[in-house]
C-alpha cells in the first residue's frame, strides 16, 4: 500500500513532463530511419561545409565571399582555384606529391607539394581544388535559386489559393502562359539581356533567371494545398472562432502546406544545379576563372579522350550531388507524407 501511494505522484510528474511529439518531430524520426535519406543528408552537409570553407573568404571577409579579394587563402582545398603552374598542365590524377611524380616540374616553393588527387587542367590548376570550390557556386545556385522560387511561388500560390474563385482563375491562367515558354530558352534570354561583368553579378543573374522560371511549379503546389485545406473543418473552426485571414494563412494554412513544399524544394535543387551547369556549359553562367562544375565540364570535354579526368570529376560531382538531394527529397516525402503514418 505504501509503495503504491508513493508511486502515484511520480506518475503524474512523468505525465506532466511528457511533451507531445508534433508532426514535425515525428517526420524527423521517420527521416532518420531512412538510410538513403540520411546518406543524402550527410553528403549535402559535407557539400555545405565545402561551399562555406573552401577558402578563408568567410573568415577573412564575408563581402569577398566570392573570391574577388586575392588575399583569400585556400582552406579546405590544397590549391587556389585560380592559379596553377602552367608547366605542370594536364596531369592525370595521382596520389603522389608533385615532387615525387615523374616528369613534374611544378614550382613547389610557390605552389606547395600536395598530391593532385584529380590531376590538373590545361593551366596547371588543381582539379580537386576547383571541384571543391565549385560546390560554392553550384550549391548557392541550387539553394538560393530554389528558395527564390519558393518565396515567389508561395506568395503567389497562397494568394491564388486563399481567395480562390475568379482571382484564382486569372492567376492560374497566367501561370499556364508562363509555363508555355521553353524554360531554357527563357533563361538564356534573361542571361543575355542582363549584364554580367563579375562573378557576383553573374550569380545574381542566375538567381533572377531561375527565380523567374522556377516559381510556377511551387505556386501551383501551394495553391493546390491551400484550395484543399481551405475546405477542411479546422479552417472553418478558425473562421468560426473569429481568426483574422492573415492569421489563418500563417497559423493554419502555411504550416500544413509546408511539407510538400519542402519536398518539392529539395527535389528541385538538383534540377537547378543542372540548369546552372548547362548554362555554364554553353558559356552563360559565372565568368571565368570561377569554377563551376558546368564550366569545368565545358572546358574539359574537348579533350575527353586525352584528359578524361577534366570532365569525369566535375561530372561525378554533379551526379553524386543530384543523387544526394534526390535521396534526401524522397526521404523527406516519405517522412512528411501523412499517408505513410504508422506504416513504417
Amino acid at each position: 500500500m505504501t509503495v503504491r501511494s508513493s508511486a502515484a505522484p511520480a506518475v503524474i510528474e512523468l505525465e506532466e513532463a511528457r511533451k507531445g511529439v508534433g508532426l514535425w518531430g515525428d517526420a524527423w524520426q521517420r527521416l532518420l530511419r531512412n538510410r538513403a535519406a540520411v546518406a543524402g543528408m550527410i553528403f549535402s552537409a559535407i557539400l555545405v561545409i565545402c561551399a562555406l570553407f573552401a577558402d578563408t573568404a568567410l573568415i577573412v571577409a564575408i563581402p569577398n565571399a566570392l573570391g574577388a579579394d586575392l588575399d583569400v587563402k585556400p582552406l579546405l582545398t590544397p590549391y587556389p582555384f585560380n592559379r596553377g603552374d602552367t608547366r605542370c598542365n594536364r596531369m592525370g590524377p595521382s596520389l603522389l606529391p608533385p615532387s615525387r611524380q615523374e616528369g613534374c616540374i611544378q614550382d613547389i616553393e610557390k605552389y606547395g607539394n600536395f598530391p593532385h588527387l584529380m590531376g590538373t587542367d590545361r593551366l596547371g590548376r588543381d582539379v580537386f581544388s576547383r571541384v571543391i570550390w565549385g560546390t560554392r557556386i553550384s550549391l548557392t545556385v541550387g539553394i538560393v535559386g530554389s528558395l527564390t522560387a519558393l518565396i515567389i511561388g508561395t506568395v503567389y500560390g497562397a494568394i491564388s489559393g486563399y481567395f480562390g474563385g475568379r482571382i484564382d482563375n486569372y492567376m492560374m491562367r497566367f501561370v499556364d502562359v508562363m509555363y508555355g515558354f521553353p524554360t531554357l530558352l527563357f533563361v538564356i534570354l534573361i542571361m543575355v539581356v542582363l549584364p554580367s561583368e563579375n562573378a557576383v553579378q553573374g550569380m545574381i543573374n542566375i538567381f533572377i533567371a531561375i527565380g523567374v522560371v522556377g516559381w510556377m511549379g511551387m505556386a501551383r503546389l501551394i495553391r493546390g494545398q491551400f484550395l484543399s485545406l481551405r475546405e477542411k473543418e479546422f479552417i472553418e473552426a478558425a473562421r468560426m472562432v473569429g481568426t483574422r485571414p492573415l492569421s489563418i494563412i500563417f497559423r493554419h494554412l502555411l504550416p500544413n502546406s509546408l511539407g510538400p513544399a519542402i519536398v518539392a524544394l529539395t527535389l528541385s535543387i538538383p534540377g537547378l544545379i543542372l540548369t546552372e551547369a548547362v548554362l555554364s556549359f554553353i558559356g552563360l553562367g559565372v565568368p571565368p576563372p570561377f569554377p563551376s562544375w558546368g564550366i569545368m565540364v565545358n572546358e574539359g570535354w574537348r579533350g575527353l579522350r586525352a584528359t578524361p579526368h577534366l570532365t569525369i570529376f566535375p561530372g561525378l560531382a554533379i551526379t553524386i550531388t543530384m543523387m544526394a538531394f534526390n535521396f534526401l527529397g524522397d526521404g523527406l516525402r516519405d517522412a512528411l507524407d501523412p499517408m505513410m503514418r504508422g506504416t513504417t
Partner: protein
Amino acid sequence: MSDNNILLDVQDLKMYFPITQGLIIQRHVGDIKAVDGISFSIKKGETLGLVGESGCGKSTTGRAILQLYRPTGGHVFFKGDDLTKLKGEALRRKRRQMQMIFQDPYASLNPRMTVGNIISEPLEVHNIYRTKAERQERVQELLRVVGLNPYFVNRYPHEFSGGQRQRIGVARALAVNPEFIVCDEPISALDVSIQAQIINLLEDLQAEFNLTYLFIAHDLSVVRHISDRVAVMYLGKLAELADRDELYNNPLHPYTQALLSAVPIPDPVIEEKRQRIILEGDVPSPANPPTGCNFSTRCPRVMDICKEVDPEFRDLGGDHWVACHLY
C-alpha cells in the same frame, strides 16, 4: 414570436450555391438551393434538433446561421441583431457568443498545433485574457471541464482517440463562454460507445453553462434523447417542427412518418409489428427541385395540388408546424 426568451430567430433563410460554366468568363447557369427559405426560432436554454437525410441542407443551415456561409437571403436574428447584416469586426465580436462543434474530430483540429494552442486560439483572437499564464490556466480548466487531463496541453491531436478529440473540439467551442452552440453532427463520426459519452457531456455542459444548442443529426434516437423540440428537414426546406414528444408520437408530415418508421425499436415484439414506410425513388437534385411541394415526387399520399402549389409552413396549433397540404 414575440417571446422575450427567444435567442435565435431565423426568418426565411436561403443559401444558394451558384453553378457556373465557362473557363475564363464564368456564366451563372443555375443554383444549388441547399437551404431554400426556412424559418424557426430557438429559445434560450433549449435544444432544437434538426434532422433529415444526407444532403438535405442541415449542415448548410447551421453554417449559414453562424455566417460561415453568407446566406443568399433571409435574416438571422441573434439576441435581436441581424447577423446577416453584420460584417468584419462586428461579426467577429459576435462570434464570442456563438460557436460550433464540428462533425469530424479528425478534420476539425489543426494537426500542427498543440491542444493548448488549439483551445487558446479563441482566447487570443478575442483578447480575453491579458497574460499567457491566465490563458494557460483557462485552457487547463477547460480541459478539466470536458473531462480531459489538463496535462495534455502540450500534445498534438494525432495522439488522441476520436472521442478525446471531440472533447477538445468541445473545449475550443466553450473557450469564449458562448451562449449558443451549433452542434453539427458531433457524434456521427464516433463509435457508438463514445457517442453516449459525448452526448452526456453536451447535456452536462448545457445544464452547467445554460447553453442553447442547435443539434444537427441524422440519428433520430439521439435527437429524441437530447432535443426539446425537433425540426425535420427535406431538400432545403423544413417539413415539420414540433415539440419532441409531439413529433415522435404524432408525426403529421408523410416524410416525418416515413423517417420515424425507419427507427428500429429495441423490443422484438413491437419491432415485429413496426410498419416501415418505404419511400420510392431518390431525393431530387437541389439544383432542380420539383415544382409545388418538394416532397411531391416521393410522397405516398401525394395529391394533385401538391404538384403545383408549394405548401405553406404553418402552425397547426400547439406549436406544431407542418408544411403539407393534407392539413
